[in-house]
Subunit: 327 residues, 2 copies
C-alpha cells in the first residue's frame, strides 16, 4: 500500500469465519482502500496463530506509527477462536454490539483489535428455540446502519441460513436452518453424489427444475427424504431428462430447490407480511428471490460485503461515541 | 460342514448388498443348516470377482457332486453388479419374482446361480413418483410367502427406508425415504458431529428425547433444517441437558427422532388405516414402533432375516413349480 493510502487508513474491517478471513482497509468516510483475504480460518488456527495470521493479511496497510483500530466479526470471537466474545441474548440492539466486544492481547503495538460478540437465543414458551449466530449479527447491524430503526424480516442465506426478526433496530428472535450444509452433504457425500452436479440456474431447464422443486418441498415438507431419493430414481428411470452433464445439472438444480423449499416451508407462517430483506451474495440471494417469488413473496437484497462493512463501521462509530462521551 | 449336512443341503440363500453379502445353507424344509457372511459387497467387486467371492463363503457347503440352486437378491443383480436383473415395474406380483431372474455364467459346475430382479416405479398422474428397490422386494415376497394374499402397508426401515402398499400379494406402489442415510451423514459429517452420538434408547432420557423429536418433526416438517441446527445450539446453550457422553447420547436420540419423525410426517396420509407391518432388525424396528405409537399408530414386526429367507424360498419354490409344469 502506498504511503498516501496508509495515511488515509482510519480502521481495518475483518470478517473472520471458520474457513477463511477477509479484511478491508477503510478510510474515514467508509470507503474501501484495499482488500485482503486468507484461508486461515478459525478451524485452521490455534490461539497464538491469530495475530500472525492477521499481520500476514493486513501488515502492509499499517502506517509506521500510530494505533489502528481493527474490528473483527465472526468465529474468531468463538470459544475455540482467538478470545471468546460472549453471545448476547436476544432481544439485542444491533447498534450496541461494540459494547460487548473484547480486546485480545497483541504484541504488535500498531494493532488495536476488537472482537464483536455473537447472539444467542434461549428456548422459551413463546416458541423461541435455542439458537446462536456469530458473524451474521454484524451484517444485520449493517442493515440498521443504513436504515436506522429498521423493522422487518431478514434472511441471510448460506451454509447455516439465518432468519432474523428485527424491531426498531433490535433482533427480537432468530432461526437458523441447516440448508446450505444439507445441500453440500447430499450433493457430495450421499448416494445422490453420482446423480447431481452444482448447477447455474441459467442452464437450460435448470430454473424450471429449481422452481418446481421449491414448490414440491414447500407443499409436502414431510416428503423431503422421499423427494431426495427421487433424484436418484429419476436419474435411473426418467427418460424426459437430458443425458450426461445436463442431466446432473438439472437434478442438482432440483436438489437445491428442495433444500430451499423445505426452509421456506418452515418459514411459511412468517412470510405473509412485507418483503423479506435478503443479505448475501448475488448468486445465492437470486435463488432465494426466485424461490420466494414462486411462492408469492417479495424480497429485496442487500449485498453481504456492504452489510458486513457497514456493521463493523457502526461498531467502530459507536465505540468512538462512547469514548467521546467518557471524556 | 459335515457330510451329513451337505447331504441335507437343498439350496443356498444369498442376500448380496452394496457393502456385504450374507448366505444361508437351507434344507428341504426351509431350515437353516449354516450361515456365512463376507464384506465383499457390490461396491467392492468387479464382475469377475463375484463367483470367487461366493465360493469363499459357501464353497464348504457344496456336496462332492450335484448342482445346488443359489438364489440371490440385492445389488448383485444391479447393472454395476454380477449381471443385471431387470427392475420389474409395479404393480408386480411378489410370488413371481423368480420368472424375471437371470442366471450368470459360472465356472463351478456345482453352482446354479439365479439373481432376482428389483422393482421400479414410474412417475404418473396418480401421484406415484420415480422409485426403485433392489433387495427389499424379496423381503416383501417373504411376507407374502408367510401370509399369502397379504394386503396392507409395509415399512422396511434402513439407510433407504422403503414403504410399500401391497394388495393381494402384489406391490401396487412404493416410496423410498433417505432417512437412515440422512441420519448417518448428519451424525458423522455435519456440524452436528461434535454434538451427537449414536444412542441406545434405553439410556436415561434418550427414549423421551427420541419421542419428543418424532413429534416435533412430524408436527412441523418444514422446520427440519431448523430442528437440526437446534441440536448444535442446544449443545451450546441448554443447561437442562446432562454433560459429556450423556449429553451427546441425548442429542443423538433426538437426531434419530427428527429423521424418523420427518419420514412419518410424509406418510401421514397413509397411516390412518390398519397396523403397519415393519420388516427389519429388532433394534431399528423398535424405534419405528415407538415413533408410530407416539403418533397413535399400531405396528407389528417381521424379522428381516426370516423375511429374506422366506422370500428367496418362495422364488425357489416358484421356479421348481414352473419347471414341473414344463415337464
Amino acid at each position: 500500500m502506498s504511503e498516501a493510502m496508509q495515511e488515509r487508513l482510519a480502521w481495518i474491517a475483518v470478517d473472520w469465519g471458520s474457513s477463511n478471513l477477509r479484511a478491508w482497509a477503510m478510510d474515514e468516510r467508509g470507503e474501501v482502500l484495499a482488500r485482503g483475504s486468507s484461508d486461515k480460518g478459525m478451524l485452521a488456527l490455534a490461539q497464538e496463530d491469530y495475530e500472525p495470521a492477521l499481520l500476514e493479511t493486513v501488515g502492509d496497510w499499517l502506517p509506521a506509527s500510530g494505533r489502528v483500530p481493527v474490528w473483527v466479526c465472526g468465529m474468531a470471537g468463538a470459544r475455540q477462536g482467538w478470545q471468546e466474545a460472549v453471545y448476547l441474548p436476544v432481544p439485542a440492539r444491533l447498534g450496541e454490539l461494540a459494547r460487548a466486544a473484547v480486546a485480545p492481547a497483541v504484541d504488535e503495538p500498531r494493532l488495536d483489535v476488537r472482537l464483536l460478540p455473537g447472539l444467542c437465543q434461549h428456548a422459551d414458551p413463546a416458541g423461541r428455540a435455542f439458537d446462536v449466530m456469530r458473524g451474521e449479527e454484524t451484517q444485520l447491524a449493517g442493515l440498521v446502519a443504513r436504515e436506522p430503526g429498521f423493522t422487518g424480516l431478514v434472511c441471510l442465506p448460506g451454509t447455516h441460513a439465518k432468519w432474523a426478526w428485527l424491531e426498531e433496530g433490535a433482533v427480537t428472535r432468530f432461526a437458523t436452518h441447516l440448508t446450505g450444509e444439507l445441500y453440500r452433504l447430499l450433493a457430495s457425500q450421499s448416494v445422490l453424489k453420482h446423480s447431481v452436479a452444482d448447477a447455474e440456474l441459467d442452464a437450460p431447464g435448470c430454473r424450471e427444475a429449481f422452481v418446481a422443486a421449491v414448490r414440491d418441498a414447500h407443499a409436502e415438507p414431510g416428503r423431503f427424504g422421499q423427494q431426495l431419493f427421487g433424484l436418484r430414481a429419476a436419474d435411473l428411470l426418467d427418460d424426459a431428462l437430458p443425458s450426461g452433464a445436463a442431466r446432473h445439472a438439472r437434478l442438482g438444480a432440483r436438489l437445491s430447490g428442495l433444500t430451499i423449499g423445505l426452509e421456506l416451508s418452515g418459514m411459511r407462517h412468517d412470510l405473509s407480511g412485507a418483503a423479506v430483506t435478503l443479505i448475501g451474495s448475488e448468486a445465492l440471494c437470486n435463488r432465494y428471490t426466485l424461490a420466494l417469488e414462486a411462492l408469492g413473496h417479495d424480497s429485496r437484497r442487500l449485498d453481504g460485503e456492504a452489510a458486513v462493512l457497514a456493521g463493523l463501521g457502526l461498531a467502530q462509530a459507536d465505540q468512538r461515541r462512547q469514548k467521546g462521551g467518557n471524556l
